[in-house]
């Protein structure tokens, strides 16, 4: 009977300890869970509800309109030269360019990892756009671009275009700005991941006569594939939310040829006001429904590429 009492005593103590542990766990996560329910779940439910409403411009009153917003959005898509296709095209081209510059970023990170000439200065310089703020960097870049034709005149280029206002060049300028200011992430994150590769692996490969190029292809990239996958998946997920530097350069009046999908949504929301909320919510929801399965496909693709899963 004493043994039974002892077992009950220890069982009760174990249950109390587990209850205390769960209470502690709940304490430290409850704030985040409540915020998640309100600012993510409820917000997204409201987005869906908005797609079935119309909001009066003057009174702000919302009325139920069924699938009218969806019909309007599909009709707009079928119009020739509409903004939607322009914005989608801009977003896709920006993403395609990011894939072209991805190997350059990897090579730069590898250069820093090998502690080659000038890497300390390079790490500092490449982070400048992040340190000074996107706003300042963009404004400095914009001012410099406005003055650039004058500099190029001095070098004999009399008809150098005004890159910030010439319709043939504005889109290119925004793409160039993204490349110009965007290598920091690759250099820092890939570089840090490369530093985590064991020296013994690299040294034994070097004793076997491996070149830098072979080391990068057969050792470095496979070993940092989780980091590469993380960035590429989040990059892909963000294709339709990315706005580029359009607000920086032109506030709500960016030239149509520079539009990105994220900027279109932002501009419609902020410039037009509440009456545009249902339309914006509709195009947002439709693009989410399209893009989420594609993001999961990309994630599956990287799961196959990652040798760690073999």
């Amino acid at each position: 009977m004493n043994v039974k009492k002892l077992t009950t005593f220890f069982d009760n103590n174990k249950k109390k300890a587990k209850a205390k542990e769960f209470a502690f766990l709940l304490c430290i996560v409850i704030y985040q869970i409540v915020n998640f329910i309100i600012f993510y779940v409820a917000m997204n439910v409201n987005t869906v509800a908005l797609t079935f409403q119309s909001i009066d411009k003057k009174t702000g009153a919302a009325t139920w309109v069924g699938f009218e917003n969806y019909r309007k959005v599909f009709l707009t898509f079928t119009e020739s030269g509409n903004e939607y296709w322009n914005a989608l095209k801009g977003s896709f081209i920006t993403y395609a360019v990011s894939w072209l510059t991805f190997p350059v970023g990897l090579f730069m990170a590898f250069y820093v990892y090998k502690k080659a000439f000038g890497t300390k200065s390079f790490r500092f310089i490449v982070m400048l756009p992040n340190i000074l703020s996107g706003m300042l960097t963009g404004l400095m870049f914009k001012r410099f671009m406005y003055a650039l034709p004058q500099l190029m005149k001095g070098f004999g280029f009399e008809s150098f275009p005004q890159l910030m206002s010439d319709p043939d060049w504005t889109f290119f300028t925004t793409i160039y700005y993204g490349i110009w200011s965007g290598f920091a992430g690759a250099v820092i994150y890939y570089g840090n991941a490369m530093n985590g590769i064991g020296d013994e692996i690299v040294e034994s490969a070097q004793l076997d006569g491996i070149t830098y190029l072979q080391e990068m292809i057969f050792i470095t990239i496979p070993m940092i594939m989780p980091t590469i996958a993380t960035f590429q998946i989040t990059n892909f997920a963000g294709v339709l939310t990315e706005q580029g530097p359009l607000y920086l350069f032109w506030q709500y009046n960016a030239p149509r040829e520079t539009y990105r999908w994220g900027y279109l949504i932002f501009q419609r929301t902020m410039k037009t006001g509440q009456s545009s909320y249902p339309e914006v919510a509709t195009i947002g929801l439709l693009s989410t429904l399209l893009w989420f399965p594609l993001t999961m496909l990309v994630r599956k693709l990287f799961d196959k590429l990652d040798p760690m899963t073999d």
Binding site: I28, D199, L213
Partner: protein, 299 residues
């Protein structure tokens, strides 16, 4: 690794030269606009109008800076108080409050979740939190801005500084993964030993494990501070009556032609606003860049 032991072939030297050239070219292209801004900020308007790439006749003449410091103010039409003029001091204070409070809440939210998922991963709640976080990272929420604005207006946190800064932190993202990995890597022996001596869960968390991951917490906080200090979109979208320096400099330069400010004076304003984060970065560069590692969306 002793480089001297291994002789590099011609291919390796060629690869290093090509990449080195790209690196130098990128650095030069990156630095040119910043150096140009710095040089022209000391120039006179007359010289600038003659040639925007001329050198100042008088170097380190700070008259443009003095002017920019005094002129860096913006007028905003607030619903509650009508037209309000914000000077550089107001905007600096708002920048500081936004950066400190927002970063503190974000870091606390994600580190607590990281601790819960890293040290109490056997609970279903922790597993669910981690799984939801992975889902949120890849799930693209497009077009939620209208709903978000409606929600904040309904909750009276729109254009309301302190309430806005205290809500909306659910701690998800890469930082949760980083904190979870960091806490998971720490042995549980410390926790067991402390609990045998009578320490509670909160004591173990704050007095044993948090100090161990302090470098990571500090680097996440510093990086977040710099990001939130420079976050102009927050003020544009949710806090239009609380302009920070980043928001302020945008309006300053956009109104420059209206108020007759010269380009060199505007550029001096840019440099003035860039100083605080540049100093912070220079002091904390090593800590921040060494701690930034990310990997594993597969969990």
């Amino acid at each position: 690794m002793n480089k001297n032991k291994i002789k590099r072939g011609k291919v390796d030297i060629a690869v290093l030269c090509v990449v080195g050239t790209l690196v130098i070219l990128h650095c030069v292209l990156l630095l040119i606009p910043f150096i140009w801004v710095l040089i022209q900020s000391f120039n006179t308007n007359y010289n600038y109008m003659l040639n925007p790439f001329s050198f100042p006749k008088k170097w380190f003449d700070f008259s443009n800076y003095t002017f920019a410091f005094k002129a860096l103010n913006i007028t905003i039409n607030t619903p509650a108080r009508g037209k309000v003029i914000y000077n550089i001091y107001n905007m600096s204070i708002y920048s500081f409050i936004i950066a400190v409070v927002l970063t503190f809440m974000q870091t606390l939210a994600s580190s607590l979740l990281g601790y819960a998922t890293g040290k109490y991963g056997q609970w279903r709640l922790s597993k669910a939190i981690y799984a939801v976080n992975l889902f949120l990272i890849v799930f693209p929420t497009i077009g939620s801005l209208p709903s978000s604005l409606q929600l904040h207006r309904a909750m009276n946190t729109y254009n309301n500084l302190v309430p806005f800064l205290l809500v909306g932190h659910y701690g998800s993202g890469m930082h949760l993964i980083m904190f979870c990995g960091a806490f998971r890597a720490l042995p549980n022996d410390y926790k067991e030993a402390a609990m045998m001596d009578g320490a509670g869960h909160f004591t173990v968390m704050f007095r044993i494990y948090y100090p161990m991951v302090f470098p990571l917490v500090a680097s996440v906080f510093l990086l977040g501070f710099i990001g939130n200090w420079n976050n102009y979109m927050l003020c544009v979208t949710y806090l239009p009556s609380y302009p920070n320096l980043a928001y302020g400099i945008y309006f300053f330069q956009s109104m420059a032609t209206v108020y007759g400010y010269s380009v060199p004076e505007t550029l001096a304003g840019f440099v003035v606003v860039a100083i605080p984060t540049s100093i912070l970065w220079i002091c904390s560069q090593k800590l921040i860049t060494s701690k930034l590692t990310v990997g594993g969306l597969k969990g």
